[in-house]
Amino acid sequence: MGKFTQTFLNWEVMAQYAPKIAEGFVVTVQLALLVVIAGVASGLVLALVRSFRVKALNLLIVAFVDVLRAVPPLVLIIILYFALPTVGVRMSGFVATWLALSAILAAFAEEIFWAGILAVPRGQWEAARSTGLSFVQAMSQVILPQAVRITIPPLTNRTIAITKGTALGATVAVGEILYQAQTGYSFSYNPSPLTLGAIAYLILFIPVVWFGRWVETRFAWKR
């Protein structure tokens, strides 16, 4: 047992790397928030654009969504960070991770919002338009509020899953939790920084997982 704590819970090593992990914690939170904001907002915009039913545009949106749902996030990050520089486009690991995850979340969010918009019965549209509301007014005041309610549980779960992808940033040197933990581990040749990193993720994501559970029951539709 003594050897185990010496190895995985070595106080000296932990104390030494705790400030780094705390720094990483802040970066992870920033990155996650930026991904959620950009991803959900652009997903909503794409779904709204799709509702105008312009054929060429819709084909583009569907292609965008399909590609981003089929290609693994890590592959996307690697392409942005390691492939694009060969044609002169350079970005930091932070931007590459943010762009990749935001685009993926946008794709999933678009699908979810669009399905939500379609789920609102046609009668709602017709009634709203017949009272004299314009297309935009009907969409923003009648359809969207109803659509969003149905989309909250799947959207929350998807968003949580994608924000956990911020750990992938460690592979392109983003100074988030995992990167700091890994660096600490290779400098000290002791896995205690990894333990600390794991604890940091639990502190961050256990409440988020519980929140997701709560949202699922709170917005569950009674059968």
């Binding site: 399909d66 890590l74 390691f82 492939a83 060969t86 044609v87 899953a161 993720y201 994501f205």
Partner: protein
């Protein structure tokens, strides 16, 4: 345009590196064939244990599920790949990846099966038991088949995520598709292999994405 083709779609490079990519693809396929069934079996076990009358065991399962849903998969993988050897258990890369995936995906599959089992009306249990089936028989022949059918879209969706997730094995140097592509890139100084890997993922997973998109629209429309 010319530079784009030589940088990303270089046929010469592709021909040269194709054998590596093919080997990587086979490893990715093998990994998928191991971790998906393992995850589904583990998930079913988790869902069934969660129904036990023995409270501490139930709490333990909830703890397990929340714990491994809170860890980003890459964090779990690194902890197992780099931390576990310190305990004297030195797993080969493939086994480390399989173990990380088992822990992570079984908690996701477990949640899906749990929802499926909960969707089966009590009357089904009672009717099955009253015909003389035992508790285990009731589960195996009556409840689980119906529950599984109810959650097929979620199972496919999660499986798609698991297949994409196998790309993180590249981080612990398991020579799967992304790892092979990265190696090929660093040898040839050309990004074509990475782009090719992305396209291979896209081509293999696109049918699944289409299928899911259809399921999802139907599911939300049913509300």
């Amino acid at each position: 345009m010319e530079t784009l083709i030589t940088a990303f779609f270089n046929f010469e490079i592709l021909r040269e590196t194709a054998p590596y990519l093919w080997a990587g693809f086979k490893m990715s396929a093998l990994l998928t064939l191991v971790v998906v069934p393992l995850g589904i079996a583990g998930g079913l076990a988790v869902a069934l244990i969660a129904r036990t009358q023995f409270r501490p065991l139930r709490w333990l399962v909830v703890f397990y599920v929340d714990l491994f849903r809170a860890f980003p998969p890459l964090v779990l993988l690194m902890f197992i790949a780099f931390g576990l050897p310190f305990t004297g258990i030195d797993l080969p890369a493939f086994a480390a990846v399989a173990l990380a995936f088992l822990l992570n995906t079984s908690s996701y599959y477990g949640e899906i099966f749990r929802a499926g089992i909960e969707s089966i009306p009590r009357g089904q249990f009672e009717a099955a038991r009253s015909t003389g089936l035992g508790a285990a028989q009731t589960m195996a022949y009556i409840i689980v088949p119906q529950a599984t059918r109810n959650v097929v879209p979620d199972l496919i969706s999660n499986t798609l995520e698991v297949v994409k997730l196998t790309s993180i094995a590249s981080v612990v140097a398991l020579p799967e598709l992304l790892y092979a592509a990265r190696q090929a890139q660093s040898v040839t100084y050309n990004a074509t292999p990475i782009i090719a890997a992305g396209i291979i993922y896209l081509v293999c997973l696109w049918p699944l994405v289409r299928l899911l998109s259809r399921f999802e629209h139907r599911q939300i429309a049913l509300h």
